[in-house]
Symmetry: C2
Subunit: 109 residues, 2 copies
DNA sequence: CCTCAGTATTCAGTGATACTATGTACTAGT
DNA sequence: ACTAGTACATAGTATCACTGAATACTGAGG
């Protein structure tokens, strides 16, 4: 990807991960793979793990350690009520931004 | 606003300013005022000026110093071809992000 | 004349976030 | 034993927006 995406992801990636977790529980490796699949071609694994640690410490997710038949145990994350509220707030902020930018895009033509 | 917007603005604010400048030339104070008008309630002045210095150094804008009848001279910025190309690239990146997020929003309901 | 409000720019220091690069650990297949 | 794939963790770096303050110019009111 480019440096531009990198900067634009700041603040957004957290929302993306929360949104993923709102649909189903998931673990880090899985989330990283999914993101790559979606075209976020070079999101570093470290980035996702660091982010997961952050949102866990802020109490937005519940964690369960589940043994895997392939490699070390997985840390499975699921969104809790606090996380759900945070996600709602994220969507509100996102909507605000998109509206402003859509206006700008129209006007700039 | 909140900390959430602050982080989400990273990488986006630059595009916003470029988009503004694609419509008309403008100077820092004016841009800040416009942003506040649009609901970016507490964007710090320092932020905009720092951003303008950055995009000037990267050669995306042309600058002209114009005396003001009210206060010190204004630095009026206008988008040059390199800036216009950068703006196009910004819109492409932005579209990519919005598409992914729109999908997630649908799926998460 | 002097101070204050409004206009306009600049800069040093801080905090949050994503990236790079590397290391650890577990399992299965050769 | 070695390798590849799975899975997690972390130290160090860069970028970007914010805070807070300083500087500079003009016109109005006391």
């Amino acid at each position: 990807m480019g440096k531009q995406v990198t900067e634009m992801l700041k603040g957004t990636l957290e929302g993306i991960v929360l949104a993923i977790l709102s649909g189903r529980r998931a673990y880090g490796y899985e989330i990283t793979a999914w993101l790559r699949d979606q075209g976020f071609s070079d999101i570093a694994e470290g980035t996702v793990y660091a982010l997961l640690v952050r949102i866990e410490q802020r109490g937005l997710v519940d964690v369960e350690k589940i043994p895997s038949d392939k490699g070390p145990p997985r840390k499975v994350y699921s969104l809790n009520p606090a996380g759900r509220e945070n996600l709602d707030e994220f969507w509100r902020t996102w909507s605000f931004l998109t509206e402003r930018l859509e206006q700008l895009r129209e006007g700039g033509k």
